[in-house]
Subunit: 464 residues, 4 copies
Amino acid sequence: MKPGISTLYLKEDRMEEECGVFGGVMDDEENAARMACFALYALQHRGQESAGIAISSSDGISVTKGLGLVSEVFPDLSRIEGRPGKLVSGHVRYSYGPEGSRPENSQPLFLRYKHGEIAVSHNGNLTNNRELKNELEQQGSIFQTTTDSELLAHLVAREGSPNLIDSLKNVLPRLKGGFAYVILAPQMVIGIRDPLGIRPLSLGVINGENYLVASETCAFDTLGAEFVREVQPGEMIVITENNVSSYRFSDQGSALCVFEYIYFARPDSNLCGKNVHLVRKELGKALAKESPADADFVTGVPDSSISAATGFAEAADLPYEMGLVKNRYIGRTFIQPTAETRKLGVGLKLNPVTKIVNNKRVVIIDDSIVRGTTSLRLIKMLRSAGAREVHLRISSPPVISPCYYGINTPTSEELAACQSDAEKMRQYIGADSIGFLNVDNLTKTIGMKKEEMCLACFTGRYPC
Amino acid sequence: MKPGISTLYLKEDRMEEECGVFGGVMDDEENAARMACFALYALQHRGQESAGIAISSSDGISVTKGLGLVSEVFPDLSRIEGRPGKLVSGHVRYSYGPEGSRPENSQPLFLRYKHGEIAVSHNGNLTNNRELKNELEQQGSIFQTTTDSELLAHLVAREGSPNLIDSLKNVLPRLKGGFAYVILAPQMVIGIRDPLGIRPLSLGVINGENYLVASETCAFDTLGAEFVREVQPGEMIVITENNVSSYRFSDQGSALCVFEYIYFARPDSNLCGKNVHLVRKELGKALAKESPADADFVTGVPDSSISAATGFAEAADLPYEMGLVKNRYIGRTFIQPTAETRKLGVGLKLNPVTKIVNNKRVVIIDDSIVRGTTSLRLIKMLRSAGAREVHLRISSPPVISPCYYGINTPTSEELAACQSDAEKMRQYIGADSIGFLNVDNLTKTIGMKKEEMCLACFTGRYPC
Amino acid sequence: MKPGISTLYLKEDRMEEECGVFGGVMDDEENAARMACFALYALQHRGQESAGIAISSSDGISVTKGLGLVSEVFPDLSRIEGRPGKLVSGHVRYSYGPEGSRPENSQPLFLRYKHGEIAVSHNGNLTNNRELKNELEQQGSIFQTTTDSELLAHLVAREGSPNLIDSLKNVLPRLKGGFAYVILAPQMVIGIRDPLGIRPLSLGVINGENYLVASETCAFDTLGAEFVREVQPGEMIVITENNVSSYRFSDQGSALCVFEYIYFARPDSNLCGKNVHLVRKELGKALAKESPADADFVTGVPDSSISAATGFAEAADLPYEMGLVKNRYIGRTFIQPTAETRKLGVGLKLNPVTKIVNNKRVVIIDDSIVRGTTSLRLIKMLRSAGAREVHLRISSPPVISPCYYGINTPTSEELAACQSDAEKMRQYIGADSIGFLNVDNLTKTIGMKKEEMCLACFTGRYPC
Amino acid sequence: MKPGISTLYLKEDRMEEECGVFGGVMDDEENAARMACFALYALQHRGQESAGIAISSSDGISVTKGLGLVSEVFPDLSRIEGRPGKLVSGHVRYSYGPEGSRPENSQPLFLRYKHGEIAVSHNGNLTNNRELKNELEQQGSIFQTTTDSELLAHLVAREGSPNLIDSLKNVLPRLKGGFAYVILAPQMVIGIRDPLGIRPLSLGVINGENYLVASETCAFDTLGAEFVREVQPGEMIVITENNVSSYRFSDQGSALCVFEYIYFARPDSNLCGKNVHLVRKELGKALAKESPADADFVTGVPDSSISAATGFAEAADLPYEMGLVKNRYIGRTFIQPTAETRKLGVGLKLNPVTKIVNNKRVVIIDDSIVRGTTSLRLIKMLRSAGAREVHLRISSPPVISPCYYGINTPTSEELAACQSDAEKMRQYIGADSIGFLNVDNLTKTIGMKKEEMCLACFTGRYPC
């Protein structure tokens, strides 16, 4: 099952998605804000630092946002019901580093420019943002946030056209990188996907009438909406009441981020028509073939590796057991063990089940590994619970290159140090054996060609 | 996996545990409050309405408590660090009905009586509480709460002896029902288990020196403590620094609540030496034999039925799939769907995975069923996701009698109406077939004799 | 003007009132909770630590309370509107020491006993509480709070009569000290004043129909109610819908706490038919005659000494100036100056006005003085603002004996050390001269005989 | 005494100041954030909607701000201590209308532009802001707030010079209206006052070394700083460590807002070398001469009119009494009376003192009157308390013209309707007589020439 609250809080050794976006026309004004909240609940796994909703009403666009989970920012609808409207957008944000926790950076970002008001939400990263920012600053722009949302707005504001769509047509070809934007304007919602479709964005419809876009299809399921199709790489979708239209601003092929399959997306979402849980289970099966292990049972790191672990168990014809139990009540803020209590063996988030593990040979499946620090702790835990052997299997290749498309990764140097050598990694983390899925098996199992995916973090070959 | 936050919030059609208790002597004053928090994190699945910690310091006993999760009541240690002491106790409460949410009823309950101060925590229910309360009221007692903790304290206060242990020896034989008490006194922590051991309570030790008691063994794992043994039915355990002693106030045999195995306990806890996950998996296997189903795959209701579902899948040689995905971010308070949005198909907490379910014959495993209202919704969900057939299998027998030992169940009449007839139930919930595990197979699989367990909810035969 | 928020927060060198009580029958259920809040706003100056409201509805008595100001505990009516009823009571508490801030001690205190439910609020102190408590503990009573409310309830519960009024008639003669109780029962509100009327309690009526009691008459003004009369010393008032009746349980005369005139009561309240502001102004005039000062102007310590200061100025024919300005935004919690910033001269709560004070001879009026620590700081402030001479005048006598009737005072030893000698006090605080109002002038100015007031803190002669 | 919390909450019929600003170099990094808080406590009466502090540290400029009182936004220093620095600035905001409560509009406003980072705080209003904004929008600027702070930043960013001071020299001559800006840059704090000095700004020094600016001198007193001089109209003050320099960008004379004397400033502040309390007292004396009243006593509307009322009483040789008492515990949020409770006479914020007022002829002093709605209520209150005659005297002239320099006033039409005719006003509010201070007496009493003050609201003659 997908990341879940606790994954984040573990500050685990994982790659971190930045955001989830959503927007569209709702069936009626009464329920629009409520529906936007529901969509954000569904996308919450893509970002837990801040949440926000924008609504276009007769009084203009209003944005309500704050730091925290959707349920914390919107404990009820009181903050967003004042100015009802059918057109809404929303955003959840995961953000790393000191910049990340700045309230100013929470989204959607509201802006006024000469031709009116807009609210911008984005997921991803522009690779040429510094260049664009310098150019804008030279022309006298000021920046109040560090977001690429503000950057896009500046570019639009400097376009001559009073027509937002025309301005975007001029501006979008200048953007490089991996991104999905949702722009709420007074009369329309615009969804934009980067030229290579690195970041995901899908189109759905409610009641066959009103369209919406979201980072993942699970948001459509939650809202009772139908999936229509994925927004194409380099496509801009313009949604108005009872209508939708499409513009292409680029035509370079496709390179969906493979980590969406491996770790980011919720298991009930579909990407390119494939269900994420089923893909992960197949990755587990392929891993069992590529890197088998002689063991008594298979277990997975909850929650994100459960799919792959059951696949591995089926293919290896080994029982699947619950070797580790996760505490679901360890929230974002909780009292930390001190050095002394840690010495006692205090383990708050994960508990190895001694009765299952003791004196057994365990295969533990994780979906990915970056620095290895989490794996080291897990293996120590399993050994202290009596595991005779611990075989670590990763349902993806080693990460060797940093991501520039909106994912938080270590630098090249750090990655080189960690991942150059599987044997060194094995020794560091203390496993009896270690195994990865290789890139060929990864892509073959997913069922896409290498050139149709962004595999840069595994190969160092960047698609743009 | 065990209940988890969302199970509670679903206000599902489940039997509900009331509380978790904890107490003991910690290694040092510095960490005692922190350790108590950790223990409560581990027991949180037994109650999410309120949390509290009592500490015995040189200034007397102080209690800090409030409504909410442990992490909400104790976001940090600032509220409990002022009066440090090694002896601590703690409590988490699930409480139903209007009385349940009264802040006064949160525990531990602090009391002064002629011989000093105590803090009382309890889990369970006295079957003769009304009788005892009437007797006390006739003697002039006043009640500020509706808890059995207060009742025990009144009885103790009316005993002549200045010695708390002597008073308890006199009082405890008068208590009937299923209960576990933890009493914090200035110099000792006392753990008490009901005469039949209906409610669980275990004894552990930290660093081989200092003892503690807890409702479940997972609290020991979390604290890095060793499990020593279960507190016996009718036993009172007295813990002082570096010492522990035992008193029996009853000797009637044993009747552990079978629902602890089926649903309440965390899967990594052990009961009577058996791991809960493994027991549940065996129940799933037994169910597959007793009530097989011709289907394409097996899925479980997350999280509590996953163990049984994987057992069923293994025994039936069917794949285990993630047919339902749970949203882990739906917290205790969240914006509810309205009638209108519900009509759209809004489904916040669970999402059926169409790609997995569509056109398939599904076996869905649930650990228990009371009124059937949740099952009805689940089956509707699966059918709307395209399931060709839905076969419901329950890894326990039908519930036909209410519980009087601390579990929230419907009345006899309600149960009779729901559960008298499996075929009627099947029709009500809309399954293609329904199957339960019978009482014989249940007890045989657990590996205990019928007379060693409380099976009253399944059989109507009450152990006391 | 009366204490005000900041006085409390200054943790000034003042005597501290404990509580304000209120109760009665409101005109209609819709507004009863709201009216109770309004009454507590009016009584807030009598206690800022906790606030609570009890309502008697068809579902029984419910109490809602918490730590903080009325506006913090009841930011809206959501917590108290669920169970509407016309009979209400309320309480605000000031409480000193570690016991004071215990949430358990907030009131009204809800209790069940053999004959039903009651909610008890009290102001004051029983001088024989230890004796009564011991007696009750010997009989097996347990105590969950340290309040005299609980004590009264225990006594009532141990009475044989099912009639609350009869029980109270038996119990009340046993209570010694200074107290006002308000008891909410399902069908009535009972107001009780101590045998000597040390603590104040008044009777009012709304719309000529429904009666209410409150610690001070300003609560009646706030509610638009009419003042009827003071509850008599040793009187119990029983209020039911459209009716009121009276019982005397003692007949010993009268000894109203003189500090209610001097400092506690709000200036718009009346005590024994006299307006508090006017009394204070007369005290200021009497002080000017008894202890004149040759100076350029008069100023008062805001807010409580303004009335006396304007009286002094009028009698002395000196201008009244605003020599000190109080910051009204320094709340209960605010960032404190450190030693270093204090060295800079940081003065948050009071600011001397240099343009007014510089090079002037100042008379500063304070209503009372206990240890002198506040006066010392004030005089230092005035001198640093350039005052040429500072003459301190206190509109009450020196405090030489502690209070046992519900007021927080230093011990006898401390008082002896501080107040035995006016000249020593003058030197300690650094004034050019000091003057007090003597006891004769105090009582003469108020217009009551010495034996009609409690003057114990000034004379050491305790009325009971 | 100055407005105080309650005045604001009364949403009284008053002119409303917008903001208070502060900035400077503190003595050491340890205390800088703390000192900024202290300064904002002192300026809190100028704005209670939001508060914010900016600090320049080695990591750049960081801003912490939020909606609420200083004590609510900064309950402790935890949010601002992370990045210590000596250079700080701060802001409190009063803001009316729906825009006012937007969190985005809280200040200081943080911005990055091509030459670095700045944080801008402002008080007042640019009269040419629409014109400047249009010009900027045409050049492609986007606006995220509705503040004039953002406007100034855009203008600076579009200047060519890398030197902030040079850019400001170019930009400032373009700004029209009444304003005070404080700009925090990495190495300096800049204070700017509008060309006519309509809005106040003063220069102070701590320990004779480090300079600071603040809207009012009471902030210096609070910090233990020395007043140096007022910032001149059209002057820019640049403060760096141990240094201060000055630039004039305009030289048009002076027109200080007269309402600062009448109502806005704290009574312990000085303006143009005159103490505000003393000025107000003189205004009261002048009023007594210009518009005497035959009455029994004088009272003032608390808190802002107390100074004038005592002056009136002295000059008229009438006693000054506390005819109205204000509840100091009615906070920003409190439960409102409903129509029904209002009918009962519920009066939460002010209470007329019957014993003082009854059967008396009362002169009530208010500092200003706009629409008369508050006066109407006050006079009704006094009459219901038995006043035989009520004579309203206003220590300023009638307001006939709206303010364009940062004060919230009704429109010209509304003012014309209310204030054209004193006799109509008297009838509307129900006073026995009404009297104002005329413009000549106002200016003569203050001791300044008409052309040295902004009297536009009284005369309709706008200084720029």
